[in-house]
């Protein structure tokens, strides 16, 4: 463990997700538009990091690059020390909408990655798969909903089912693209607590979360990265002293929480052009 050169790929695992001076430009009619400008940060195994920023700051682009759906124009995106070249089941992705398949039941939706996916680690027998599906349905509180179709469930339940489908693939990295943004406040809060609880109790998932909700970021994360808009740059890194560890009811009562929240909201507001 020399721990020396941070640029030597494949070295000892200090970070599970790492972005090194990542830039991304998109082709437009007037030439290239720089969307991300030299973004660097790292997420350690078992940690939850959240990127917040105004609309159009490129936070979803960051997530898509870690997922392998798109690639950086410059710089490197590493997961487990290896450069990301394509999507893979080692990195589960939770979309903005639940994206459940409406023609199959909740059970079949949750089983879907294991039934038809490849490279998810060990093969599960029929009985093992059934057990795993029920385990994750249980952990998101949907045990009784196994035979429902997505259209028979509320938005919150669909979101829970999508979370169970994300968890069952045993991906060590979870990439979450504003997954709770469309939910009502009450449901969003309970989804945040559920995610926090599951991640904490399993203790082996690394989460990269995208949101524009400061409170959400502070309630679930160990690290928060604040981005500016066009081109997107990381302008602040906050190590959250309470976020992922404590119950939200205790957290929201803390003066530090309130102060940090208002600081970040103020900073975000200044970034948005009026």
């Amino acid at each position: 463990m020399s721990g020396g050169d941070p640029l030597s790929g494949g070295g000892p695992l200090s970070a599970q997700i790492e972005l090194r001076e990542v830039s991304k430009s998109f082709d437009t009619r007037g030439g290239g538009r720089l969307a991300l400008d030299s973004v660097s940060f790292a997420v350690k195994p078992g940690e939850t990091a959240t990127v917040i920023g105004p609309t159009g700051c490129g936070k979803t682009t960051i997530l898509n690059m870690v997922a392998g759906f798109t690639h950086p124009t410059a710089g490197r995106v590493l997961v487990d020390g290896r450069e990301v070249t394509e999507p893979g089941p080692d990195r589960g992705f939770m979309f903005q909408r639940p994206t459940l398949l409406p023609w199959i039941t909740v059970f079949d939706n949750v089983a879907f990655p294991c039934r038809y996916g490849h490279g998810l680690g060990r093969e599960r027998s029929h009985a093992e798969l059934e057990e795993a599906v029920m385990h994750y349905l249980d952990s998101v509180g949907l045990r009784d909903a196994r035979d429902l179709h997505p259209h028979q469930m509320s938005g919150g339940m669909q979101s829970r089912a999508a979370l169970a489908r994300l968890l069952i693939a045993e991906s060590s990295v979870l990439l979450m693209d504003e997954p709770f943004a469309a939910l009502d406040a009450q449901t969003r809060l309970s989804m945040q607590q559920l995610l926090k609880h599951v991640v904490k109790s399993e203790g082996r998932r690394t989460v990269l979360f995208i949101t524009h909700d400061v409170e959400e970021a502070l309630l679930i994360s160990d690290h928060v990265y604040l981005m500016s808009a066009s081109p997107g740059r990381i302008i602040r890194h906050v190590e959250v002293p309470f976020g992922s560890r404590e119950d939200y009811r205790d957290v929201v009562l803390r003066p530090e929480f309130t102060q940090l929240k208002h600081e970040l909201i103020d900073q975000l507001e200044r970034l948005v052009p009026r």
Partner: protein, 270 residues
């Protein structure tokens, strides 16, 4: 139970009251048709060419008993149905898979779709003379015209169905490394199925319309032949019966498709 019974009765009664006004209009129209129109009150048309309700009833009875042109009435229906079903089935069997492939594979689609897009808006009737020159006036020509009509519709409907599959479904498939086979059959096909089914239903309705048109030109049996042939001897009441049968069969086929659709696509529209 008496409560629900009286509710049922009330519904029946209110339906009865609702049906009364339109029914009375229909009854009045039938009376006018039966007794006033034969007196020659419609200018420009000879009264006997307009037929009468009692004449239509008699024509229907006669067609049912004796058939027409040496074929039983049912044989005419069956002939038209058989041509439609054959042309439609071949079109669906080729059109749906080809449409899915061309929708899924952008490069293959770019080669072929503009051609099909050009052919589709041409009315099938315009093809009939060409097809008659190519294949003569036999069974094959009629089935071919129906095939052409249904095929282009089904093909382009399937392409459009595949193209409207949400991008996140494809990302989900890529994320878990689904095989192309699983992506097509577990994600793309079910997602595109509602739109494919709409195109099948439309294609079927069009096929039924086209079969009648193609039988008008040259056929010895079929509903199109029946109305064409009856009109040549001014048997107007038989023509009416033939036209009504065409409508009846068309509605029945459409209802059949709707029934299958509701069963098969249980998640749609919820």
């Amino acid at each position: 139970m008496s409560g629900s019974e009286s509710a049922w009765l009330r519904t029946a009664k209110s339906l009865g009251w609702k049906a009364l006004p339109p029914l009375s209009v229909v009854a009045l129209a039938l009376l006018v048709w039966e007794y006033l129109i034969p007196l020659g009150i419609v200018p420009g048309v000879r009264a006997e060419f307009l037929g009468t309700p009692s004449g239509i009833a008699a024509a229907a009875a006669e067609l049912g008993q004796k058939g027409y042109g040496g074929h039983a009435l049912f044989d005419h229906v069956r002939a038209s149905l058989f041509r439609t079903a054959t042309g439609f089935a071949i079109a669906a069997c080729i059109g749906v898979p080809l449409g899915i492939v061309l929708g899924y594979n952008k490069r293959a689609g770019a080669f072929l779709l503009p051609i099909f897009g050009f052919l589709r808006p041409i009315p099938a009737l315009a093809f009939i003379p060409i097809v008659v020159i190519w294949f003569g006036i036999g069974e094959f020509a009629k089935v071919f015209v129906i095939f052409m009509t249904a095929f282009l519709y089904v093909l382009l409907g399937s392409v459009s169905g595949v193209r409207s599959v949400p991008n996140d479904y494809f990302r989900l498939s890529r994320n878990y490394h689904l095989s192309t086979f699983a992506t097509l059959f577990r994600v793309v096909l079910p997602s595109a199925l509602p739109e494919i089914f709409v195109s099948l239903r439309t294609a079927m309705a069009l096929s039924w319309a086209v079969v009648v048109a193609s039988e008008l030109i040259a056929a010895q049996v079929g509903l199109g032949y029946l109305i064409q042939s009856a009109s040549q001897v001014y048997a107007i009441n038989k023509v009416y019966v033939g036209v009504a049968l065409i409508g009846l069969v068309g509605v029945t086929i459409d209802m059949l498709f709707l029934m299958i659709e509701r069963r098969l696509l249980h998640w749609v529209g919820r």
